[in-house]
Amino acid sequence: MSDLFAEYPKAMQRSTAFDEMFSPDGQLRSEYSGVNDVLQSLTVPDVSARAETMARTFLDRGVTFDFAGEERAWPLDIVPRIIPGDEWNGISAGVAQRVKALEMFLNDVYDRMEIVRDGVMPRSLITTSAHFHREVHGFSTPGGVRVHISGIDLVRDDTGTFRVLEDNVRVPSGVSYVLENRRAIAKGLPEAFSGAAIRPVEEYPRRLLSALRRTAPEGVDDPTVVVLTPGVYNSAYFEHTLLAGMMGVELVEGRDLVCRANRVYMRTTEGEQRVDVIYKRLDDDFLDPLQFRADSMLGVPGIVNAARAGNVTIANAVGNGVADDKLVYTYVPDIIRYYMGEEPLIPNVDTFRLEEPEAREEVMDRLAELVVKPVDGSGGKGLVIGPAATREELEALRQKVLADPRGWIAQPVLQLSTVPTLADDTFGPRHVDLRPFAINDGDDVWVLPGGLTRVALTEGSLVVNSSQGGGSKDTWVVDEGGAETGEVSTAVPWSTRRAHRSTQRVWPSSFHTDANPSDAYDEQQQQQNQGGSPC
């Protein structure tokens, strides 16, 4: 029995949150039993040594993030987070449903706005969104998809129910860390993998490339895909290089591209080469100085018109931000019902729309116990957690909200679920969220099993952003019974495999010098060693 969990029950009692490893009475949840066995067998020095190796590997591989101007190793906790397969199937369906609905919503918003005509949403709400771009109104995207890649942020409330916290359908980032985390944990905690049926994540880059190619403009047989990055100073630059590398496509900056006659080309040593699909990792505002910020040095002049002319696919489409506006978020359940005629599979977090006078009044009274967020922020920017804020901060917030009610929403403080996390040589409960990633290729929405789990490293803290001291966890979707089904090996023994090979030979007969080729083959398996004949 390891002493790493000695303090855990006491720490659990200090919080009302849902713990994902232990039930409130201290019972181990069954999906964690395999990992628990491994963790219990470890000692403190062993765990620290493994954590250190993982951190060093990240540093060496350049898997880092900026923390106060300093390059730090991506923080990965050694305890994986586990979601049972059948529970995940529900989440995955819910995420896919949401992505499809948002896709239809965006198509409608930039077309006839039937959702407004039918009275489901007010027109002003859409048109006042900071990310509603009239520049792209009235044309359907080449390839027919707008939300190619999305990240839907989920949290678990104190009853263990998953809820959607926010949608990211502009430039969701973090998937590279999912891939890196899995590689690191596979080597850092190999004992836990033995025999567990963990759904793999490594197919993500291939799925992404396939979706990007399938959504190329019509008539392009062999589309050229590029990843467009703002450059090496962007905090997600590592992710851009990783994805471009794993897809085997060029990583380009704005200055590498040129638009001519509504077509996009990249400058190469072999002249200009036509580009058909651009995976854009750049904010809309900087994409095209002809349409948006004229002072942008990162963008490509004319690229939006090329998309309008149907000559290039931009993924994700320009103008998607209107769908992850946090005020629009409050309407997503209605959006799902309106376009799909289905009930949402994953509920929202209860949210106050501050435009509505009654809600605003209630929020003003309860400001100290709520979370208040700007509608167009991401990454926790501008967010105020009532219970953690000072009197002055609350007063300033009150003024801001009253001045611009459209710009803010309020939510109750959620006790995010907890998972054991290594801190100060012991495991303690720490709050986590989850960002599953979905890829839409036009026919189908595929959800990467698991996603990015971020964890607040300070006890009781609800802030999981890595820029504010958060960490991450490898997220496993584990199917039950995976380990036990393997009583009989399905892998074919090498000797059998060889015996069944076709006897047809293609090499000229002069190479067949041995009387019996299969004996000779056995001998060649042996490696030669110094001193003459194979030993």
Partner: protein, 310 residues
């Protein structure tokens, strides 16, 4: 130069490359293997050991991860294990110490000194493999940058490329999904070829393309065809005698014929033919090695090794 020294250099080249290739194969396979059910682990471990030509000892428990790791990585008695190869390379360098440059000798010797300071379980093996890949790269880089391109260098390069062709052939054999449960992407990772492959192929994924890349690519240095060409170049540099007809030494003929056959071979079923290709490549490599031994090292072999073999 002395035959004895030439032989040592040839085998330094082979053993260092063997340690490198084995570490790469083990590192990638272990990660996959570790995630398989136990029964599968045993079969695949046994398959892997048999492709790598590692003895499976009868008296031990059925082969599993631990035996695989011990046999392939740490067992000094096993001449084909990583530790065994590195220690043989160091032994050779000790005998040819005045010929190899000081940095090469030091890096091989330092590697040998560090061989036993590793944890010998699965976690430790990953670190060990990473360490070995770094150490062998250092040794080879030192040789590249500090040794004159004279005959001693050519023997080193000859051993290295010959072993590399052989190792890549083994990597290709482990891409057999039914016997090894390894995807073609991971097979490419063994050779460090994944990124190069992706860039050369754009979106044309698939095991046939991956096999084609590792077997036939002319630009990727670890492919079988490139390695065989490097063997040929070293042989030409050692014996540049030019004759207008096909009369040449047998090592060069074996390697050249195999390489040329592969280069000009057209196939609609590369995967089906792969076992034969690998078989022939390995035959060519071992034949060439024997021919090199009898041409250049023969006397040394008689004197140094008489009585050691039954």
């Amino acid at each position: 130069m002395l035959s004895r020294i030439a032989e040592s250099l040839f085998w330094i080249g082979r053993y260092v490359e063997r340690a490198d290739g084995t570490a790469r194969i083990l590192d990638v396979h272990l990660e996959r293997l570790n995630q398989l059910p136990l029964a599968e682990q045993r079969t695949v471990s046994a398959n892997l050991m048999s492709v790598m030509g590692v003895d499976i000892r009868e008296d031990e428990s059925p082969p599993g991860l631990q035996q695989l790791v011990t046999r392939m990585a740490f067992d000094l008695q096993q001449p084909n294990s990583i530790a065994g190869s590195l220690s043989a390379a160091r032994e050779n360098a000790r005998r040819a110490r005045e010929t190899v440059s000081a940095p090469v000798w030091e890096s091989l010797n330092a590697t040998w000194n560090g061989l036993t300071s590793h944890r010998q379980d699965v976690v430790g093996t990953y670190r060990f493999c990473t360490w070995v890949i770094e150490r062998t790269a250092t040794a080879q880089g030192m040789a590249d940058s500090t040794m004159s391109r004279d005959d001693s260098w050519q023997f080193l390069a000859l051993g290295r490329s010959l072993e590399r062709a052989d190792m890549t052939a083994r990597m290709l054999a482990t891409g057999d999904e039914e016997a090894f449960r390894l995807s073609w992407a991971n097979m490419l990772r063994c050779a460090g070829a994944y990124e190069s492959f992706l860039r050369s192929r754009r979106a044309a994924f698939g095991d046939t393309y991956a096999v084609e890349f590792l077997l036939l690519d002319r630009l990727f240095p670890r492919s079988v065809v490139s390695s065989l060409r490097q063997v040929e170049q070293a042989l030409i540099a050692l014996d540049p005698e030019y004759s207008r007809t096909g009369k040449m030494d047998s090592a060069r003929r074996l390697v050249g014929q195999a390489c040329t056959f592969l280069e000009y071979h057209h196939s609609d079923d590369l995967l089906g033919e792969l076992p034969e290709h690998l078989e022939r490549v390995r035959a060519a490599c071992s034949g060439a090695s024997d021919a090199i031994t009898s041409k250049y090292f023969a006397q040394a072999a008689e004197q140094a090794w008489t009585g050691e073999h039954v």
